[in-house]
Symmetry: C2
Subunit: 454 residues, 2 copies
């Protein structure tokens, strides 16, 4: 099977088959598709059609499709299915973490009803256990399905037990070794198990240096740990080191994406995680706070300019260069802070280079400021001013503004990070605003001094 690409043609053919109630043809069209592709198709269909297609899937595939649906689409769709069908046909066959995610995103009454219909009581118990954890922690990411063996067993015991336990698990990533109290002792590699004599004792074979996380470890930190140590799965233990679950890298990939999106949104002045599919009101709520702050910042600028009313009346062309000064300050500030925020996020700003940054940034700033100042000087000459006062004013202030914006844009996120505040806050609207106000002051003061004295 190669990758599937959803086309308008495929979709309209499928819709026609569904509208004709042609179960056989619809089932045939979906049979060879991956659950992730079917999920994508379902998101394009209306509820009625989606339901028709969905109920033709076998139970395991149906469960995988549910897990692949976008949360909002899934809830919209699940409302159309009876709780018994959801529970018995699909949740019973899913991994506990996916099932818990689905149940967790349902309204409270639906949750209770669905849980009461589960046949597999172990699965029901696992789901209820998992629902206790905050979704942004290791506990919220983990699944309960794992393969464990006792440190006192032989390889033969292990092979039998692994075969038995493996029935419920899609892929085996690691075999965890526990003691009689279910405390995590280490891991046994599949390779070691397969390549050792069956009579060998596990105790002599397993790796004792195992990296685990506690259930309350934040998701972002789980992602950093798994990334740093190149782990495909990581065991999760409770406060007294008992093994309670495992997190696989595919769940962490989503966390990594979300973290990156968070920084991106912070920079673009959006306060919450919003998507194009969110309602108009929730999009507005996410965007309005920064706009209001920018509005107040703009008023501060307005007030400052108003204090130079007389000068502007005398030299109205002072107004000409307000936009270029604010824009350059903003751009330079965002560049500087973005580089620092990214360095902090990827942990590549370390003990040694953390302190060298501001010094280096001054070098970059001097170079940028020098080149841009020469540029603006030449460009302003094109306006044929009667004296050099205006070009000199603009050139000098641009130089100072770039220098200031670079240093401030570098130092401020470093300072926030020291104070344990998310440094990404220092990117985007905040940095632009501050540089607007300070840049304007520099420009107006310089203008006042130079234009006044010519």
């Amino acid at each position: 099977m190669s990758q599937f690409e959803l086309t308008h043609d495929f979709l309209s053919q499928l819709e026609e088959l569904i509208d004709n109630g042609d179960s056989q043809q619809v089932a045939a069209a979906l049979r060879d598709l991956h659950p992730a592709d079917i999920a994508e198709i379902m998101e394009e269909l209306n509820n009625e059609r989606a339901k028709f297609a969905f109920l033709l899937l076998d139970d395991e595939k149906g469960g995988d499709v549910l897990a692949g649906l976008d949360e909002e689409e899934r809830n919209r769709f699940l409302e159309t299915l009876p709780p018994e069908v959801i529970a018995k046909r699909f949740l019973d066959n899913m991994d506990s973490d996916d099932a818990a995610d689905i149940v967790g995103s349902m309204p409270d009454e639906q949750q209770q009803e669905v849980l009461s219909h589960l046949d597999d009581l172990e699965q029901a118990g696992d789901i209820v256990d998992l629902l206790h954890y905050d979704e942004d922690t290791a506990g919220g990411l983990m699944a309960k399905e794992l393969v464990t063996v006792n440190e006192n067993w032989t390889v033969l015991n292990c092979l039998r037990e692994v075969s038995r336990q493996a029935e419920n698990i899609d892929e085996i990533y690691n075999i965890y070794v526990v003691d009689d109290d279910n405390k995590l002792k280490g891991r046994l590699s599949l390779k070691k198990m397969l390549t050792s004599p069956t009579s060998a004792k596990i105790d002599n074979l397993f790796y004792r240096d195992i990296i685990s996380v506690k259930t309350d470890e934040p998701a972002a930190s789980v992602a950093l740990i798994m990334g740093k140590y190149d782990l495909v799965s990581i065991p999760v233990v409770d406060s007294i080191e008992r093994l309670v679950g495992r997190i696989t890298i595919d769940d962490v990939v989503d966390v990594i994406r979300e973290e990156a999106e968070k920084d991106y949104q912070m920079m673009s002045g959006i306060t919450q995680d919003v998507e194009t599919s969110d309602s108009i009101w929730s999009q507005t709520k996410a965007r309005l706070p920064w706009l209001i702050i920018a509005l107040f910042g703009g008023m501060v600028s307005a007030y400052m300019i108003s204090r130079y009313e007389a000068e502007i009346a005398l030299f109205p062309l002072t107004a000409m260069f307000i936009p270029v000064i604010t824009a350059m300050g903003g751009n330079v500030g965002i560049q500087s802070s973005a580089i620092v925020v990214q360095g902090l996020a990827s942990n590549s700003l370390n003990l040694k280079n953390g302190f060298r940054n501001i010094g280096k940034e001054v070098g970059v700033a001097l170079l940028n400021a020098g080149i841009c100042s020469v540029g603006i000087f030449l460009l302003t000459l094109c306006f044929n001013f009667s004296s050099l006062a205006m070009p000199v004013t603009v050139t000098l202030s641009l130089f100072v503004v770039i220098l200031f914006a670079s240093i401030f844009g570098t130092a401020f996120p470093l300072l926030l990070n020291r104070l344990k505040i998310d440094p990404a806050l220092a990117t985007g609207p905040f940095i632009t605003l501050t540089n607007d106000i300070i840049g304007l002051n520099i420009y107006l003061l310089t203008g006042n001094a130079i234009l006044g004295s010519f």
Copy 2:
């Protein structure tokens, strides 16, 4: 072993031990640490000390440490080691993809010398093969180590072969099934192999629906495919479907991070991947292009304002609200384009909702524009203007500017995407600049009409 946190204390103690030449104590301090942690420590040490510590590691751990070092630090460090030592002690023991990355980042002469010293000719051949592929493609990401079985074998053959092949591989993710021509036919799950009778034929056990990528598939698209289908590893085939390697998710995690960073940098007006550790000149080169463009944009603004010189001389306070108009237009535009770019990057903007976006954005824009306009009207009243002309001008133009910036910020990245241009180009400086110029025009025109008529 739990996670290690590098402290100043640990570092200075280690440096003292190294300076005293106390090999035993240094080796003891590093013995229980994970290679990723040792790599982190080495990046803090100077070359001399790093070399001393490094040569105390056993060969396998040394190789893992090398693979964990930042590319720049690694090259700096490898220059201090003789090519024979690099080849014989470390590269021979590494996964082919990591070894190829290391060799690929060396200067040409060093590459040849190191390769000529490899004892393991299979490894040398694998490295040379891998060096042919562009590093941003599936071929550049893949490793040659994989476990393959023939479709005609029995489970017993397989178990033997897997045990044999597994000697060279850290973790087994999947067992690939090939035909006599080494063409990829499917995959055998470990679970299936372990839970089937040893006499069973592979042909009846393996999954035929396997997703693979060609060697020239771009890395970003490999990441999307693995993410979409929740894959831990993916086989790589050549143009005639022969199995040539496999990519594991840990390598793709880096690609995902880099893609996210690229969008982030594009938005912050940085044209190349730069880090805080890069030289002043390469940082300046990455940042200057957008600054120069912003400079020209600023000159366009300046020219436009200059055409209203007479009006500004008459109503100098017109200048007051230039910054708030440009700042609000810029902020709103960035918010809108960021939401679209993110939707496109995560593939969550699909056929159905792609067209609905602009309509919805108009709703969000009307709401934001309405609330901000009321806000600015009230705020401008605080300035005690003699008439309502100024407040009305600012309010009206802000409303139009927000509306325009929202629609433009949404439509433009969608358009770029249609034209197969990276939509992230439409974020950051570009959108700010355009909104600055158009916003200013709206403001000055409105001002001219209203202030002139009062």
